[in-house]
């Protein structure tokens, strides 16, 4: 005699399946919500950060950056950092904190662009990924370090930001003051290339003390030809003036000896005449 077959789905099994399904729904929903939460600060623009040279416009950059950090690896002065969770502008995307370590182009060839596998950083923007007109340089920026080379210009067609004398009252030149000693306070470990010290190896900025009667550190450290100069003011003092050739690398902000820096980079801002 055959045993009576048990019912196909017991009430207990049905309840279990229901819980199972509900749990999956909640778990999946929670993960999507977490994804949304991570994206939200970006959707609301969040903090504006300096991106590496050659970066596409921010929206295109965020969609194309694969967050591998190859740009970080090739930078000779470690100017590129990867964003963390709380930075709110894309976990794992590279940015430059110019005051801590600016991009001084001591790699000569803008290596980070060369390293990028996805074209988030490119030498030449494709037609469909055009940048704002104000971001484009009028002419190829000339790297002072390469000025005597057959090809003195940087392979860079757009700026990444533009320098601005944000705190003129702090600027030493405008007060007629000079600067003697290391540019930055003790413990500062940012690096910069000085052509008269070593063509190929950047050294700690603070290992290169200055002694100038009128402070012109922003002008003398600037790696780009004709990007910044000291101009006479009516009161007889001088002031740094930023020119169209500024690519926004941030070396002036890094070298400025006042605390906080008198001159800063406006990230991703174009040139306004």
């Amino acid at each position: 005699m055959a045993p009576i077959p048990p019912p196909k789905v017991t009430p207990h099994k049905a309840a279990q399946a229901r819980r199972h399904f509900l749990r999956s729904l909640i778990g999946g929903g929670a993960l999507l919500a977490a994804g949304g939460a991570a994206w939200l600060p970006l959707a609301q623009a969040g903090t504006v950060r300096l991106r590496p040279p050659g970066a596409l416009e921010e929206d295109d950059f965020l969609s194309s950056c694969i967050k591998c950090g190859q740009c970080v690896q090739v930078c000779p002065v470690s100017a590129l950092k990867l964003a963390d969770l709380d930075d709110g502008y894309g976990v794992g995307t590279p940015f430059i904190e110019a005051r801590a370590q600016a991009c001084d182009f001591s790699c000569d060839a803008v290596q980070c662009i060369l390293a990028c596998p996805t074209g988030a950083l490119t030498y030449t923007k494709p037609a469909h990924l055009a940048t704002r007109a104000a971001m484009r340089m009028a002419s190829a920026p000339i790297l002072l370090a390469k000025e005597k080379d057959p090809e003195p210009s940087l392979n860079l067609k757009e700026r990444i930001g533009v320098a601005r004398l944000a705190r003129p009252d702090l600027c030493l030149a405008r007060q007629g003051k000079g600067w003697k000693g290391a540019a930055r306070g003790s413990g500062y470990d940012g690096h910069l290339r000085f052509m008269d010290v070593d063509r190929w190896r950047p050294i700690p900025l603070n290992d290169h003390p200055f002694d100038v009667p009128v402070c012109d550190l922003c002008v003398r450290t600037c790696p780009i030809k004709g990007a910044i100069s000291l101009e006479l003011l009516p009161d007889g003092n001088k002031t740094p003036v930023v020119h169209e050739a500024c690519v926004g690398c941030g070396v002036c902000e890094m070298a400025c000896p006042t605390e906080p820096a008198a001159i800063v980079i406006d990230p991703r801002r174009g040139w306004e005449a």
Binding site: H20, F21, R23, S24, G27, G28, L31, L32, A34, G35, G36, A38, W39, L42, A43, D59, D60, L62, S63, S64, C65, I66, K67, C68, G69, Q70, V72, Q73, V74, L82, D84, L85, D86, G90, V91, G92, A115, P117, T118, G119, P126, H128, L129
Partner: protein, 322 residues
Amino acid sequence: MSIKESARILLGGEVRKPAAADYTPGANRVHELKRMDGANRRALAEEMHQQHGHSHTWRNRRWAVLIAVNLLFVLSFWLDIQLLEGSLTASRFLGFHLIDLNSALQVMLAHKHILVNLVIGTATVFVLWVLLGGRSFCSWVCPYHLLAEWAESLHLYLVDKKKVSGHAFHRGLRGVLWLLFAVLAWVTGYTVFETLSLTGILSRALIYGPGLALLWVLFWLLVEVFYSRRAWCRYFCPIGLTYGVVGLPSPVQVGYRLEHCFHEGDCRKVCLVPHVLECVIKGRATAETMAIGADCTRCGLCVDVCPSGALHFEVKGMSQWL
């Protein structure tokens, strides 16, 4: 198992009990023999147990490879030896582009433009993992897998002590999430999943230094210790599904020999994806030798644990040379 069936199970489909017509005559003969020959089989099982026993051979090899690959990334940057530059999302091996398939997919969907380097790197990695087994990426390379294995042993200990109980999710969840993250990338123009990817976060943390994003990794480890065994890798991670699909036609797989099996079930206890091993249940194998499906991560734990040598690694079409 057909590729179609393997794909269905990969996407969360239930493993079906085979119909009588599915069995080969050879399989029927072995099943019949096993039913008839109780005493002899038991003696044979004893003998097999003596021969095989429980080893850690494949686990140790796998851990060595996993640590070596991740260490190669770390050292390439730290010591500037430049063998393997980048991280697991995208890298260069001796200058050749390698791009993680899931990351590449996210970028292509978000960006909607495809670059030559991206295509080269993606194609290289695609071919590599078709040859190496697809989800073998998970168990042989992904750094989260190693942490999760340790969390898993803690979870199993706590379950054994009755301190926690396990909770399963629906296996179809991963496929749904894969689709939703693809849609999200397309719609938002942002690689949303990359923000959540434990593989990416851990790989970057190892190479470029730790950050707050590790809290997200910790959260999942806690979920897996206290709530659901291997939850991320089993039910959530879309990367696993991507590589699973890639592994569908792969020649590298775990093979099963019905005749050597005594249906003791140890393999299914250690397996990350036990549904792929349902063919080892008594009476289920439809052929004398079976290949384990694409969701298998080729981790080799079942090969190590099988007390009678019924499970082994094989390369399809190469058995006469190996």
